[in-house]
Subunit: 270 residues, 2 copies
Amino acid sequence: MAIRHSELHAASSLTEPVVTRLKLNAPLSERDIGLVRGLGQTAETHWTGGEILSEGQVVRRPLYIVSGWACLRRDLPDGRRQIFGFVLPGDSVGVGVARRSIALTSTVALTTVKTIDATTVHEAAGLPEHRGLASALQAAAVLESALLLDHIVRLGRLTAVARVAHLLLELRHRLACVGLASAHRMPLPMTQETLAECVGLSSVHLNRSLQQLRRENLIELKSGSVNLLQPDVLAAISDFEPTVLPKSVISPMETAPMRRREDRSFMPPS
Amino acid sequence: MAIRHSELHAASSLTEPVVTRLKLNAPLSERDIGLVRGLGQTAETHWTGGEILSEGQVVRRPLYIVSGWACLRRDLPDGRRQIFGFVLPGDSVGVGVARRSIALTSTVALTTVKTIDATTVHEAAGLPEHRGLASALQAAAVLESALLLDHIVRLGRLTAVARVAHLLLELRHRLACVGLASAHRMPLPMTQETLAECVGLSSVHLNRSLQQLRRENLIELKSGSVNLLQPDVLAAISDFEPTVLPKSVISPMETAPMRRREDRSFMPPS
DNA sequence: CGGGGGTTTGACGAACGTCAATCGGGGTGG
DNA sequence: CCACCCCGATTGACGTTCGTCAAACCCCCG
């Protein structure tokens, strides 16, 4: 299921999304940052479709996603599913909603996902010399609940088209925070059915909603990535406003790192 | 808005819902319990419709609800509202989702609400001699997120009737935990419109869903309280299962404390 | 050249929202 | 004590949104 890396090279670059995210949350000292960078050695790989964490399972240790996408999911008795949100590079798994207890949802890899062990960081956050880390982790937890609240508003009060627009804007904003999306283009490495399970629609109706957005020249869909043609219009029709914290993290930079070839396979090469 | 009580009598009995809840979350020492009981002096009263905490406002101090109901709410630009959940006696306000930061939602009193200041408890939880409190608070935070997740499932995957059934069962379970509901009857001190804003339906359709439940002899509605006639059937049609923790807290006791006279007014006697 | 999974389309029915009128009970003023 | 009033609950009619079923399509890959 998870494969431990023996490679040590380039380990520090792996941790950059995490460093970026934590620095946005709170000012970090050099020691804080060094601590996080040291986690590159603990990288593990999870294949598409694999469960990084299973609902009901005891959470052994907190993780950080350093590359790839995952989702938080619950399976209902009749086979239907609800996706609570997506986990992106820089996000943590097994924290806040489930630290040191029982996982409330499954965390499933949507692409090949690389993770690092966050135990050290969480332990250090208790020490007086790492106050910066402590507030960064706290802020991360708050942002996590904020995402859940936004999702509730999406499901409870928005129409199908607005739900999709709202979700796309949220993902763009979060990706931009860690430098993985430009102002317009971003990866969207999942099935329409997965998207539907997130926004509470049937896959057919989700498809029609996407088409409506395309017809109105609001988005462009290529396999595995989206182009938000008129983000302001999308925001208007969905009442979107990015979650608090440092405003306007979206840089005008146009480098949008795309998924590598190996990530396009939706099945593990077992 | 909030009125500080000068009355000191019967202060300790006020805190009982909080003690009960915390004891369910983790084993508490006598010192832990004594600490909580001492909070009776800090009681404040909020009138129906008043905002105990406003979205965007800096959270000054954590509170416990000791009597009455409140809801977590967000108002949308077009006047519509989404209710994220209800806050019952024993629940905390301004914790977890917003501790020491900015409130992510408004907390609005649905009845007359009495609160006590939880600052002391939260500070004590950091001390080694109050480890029990620390785990109790942690468990409370987890349960809080669990409720949000359940709500997402309700909104994303259940039909109107099932949403209502699911919500009623959740409320009964939580009330029973603090001895405020019997196996069947429980208070429901809110407008159908409020209920609708919670489960993401129009008030008209919510009304029809309630009627369907009544027609099928699953519930009985009197002003301000519900009777769950066949909880097992309700659970079956809504895929409900109570949130983890000590199973079957629902006692066969039939004493269902109803709202007092003063609580039936929906407007403050200003 | 096939196959298979994902996407798209059409047709149809069920679920839900909206508008607007009516009802009903408790609270209030006379 | 009684008539009035107001808010919330209820009802009907109608239109829209969304789900379901099933077929066709498309593209990537073997």
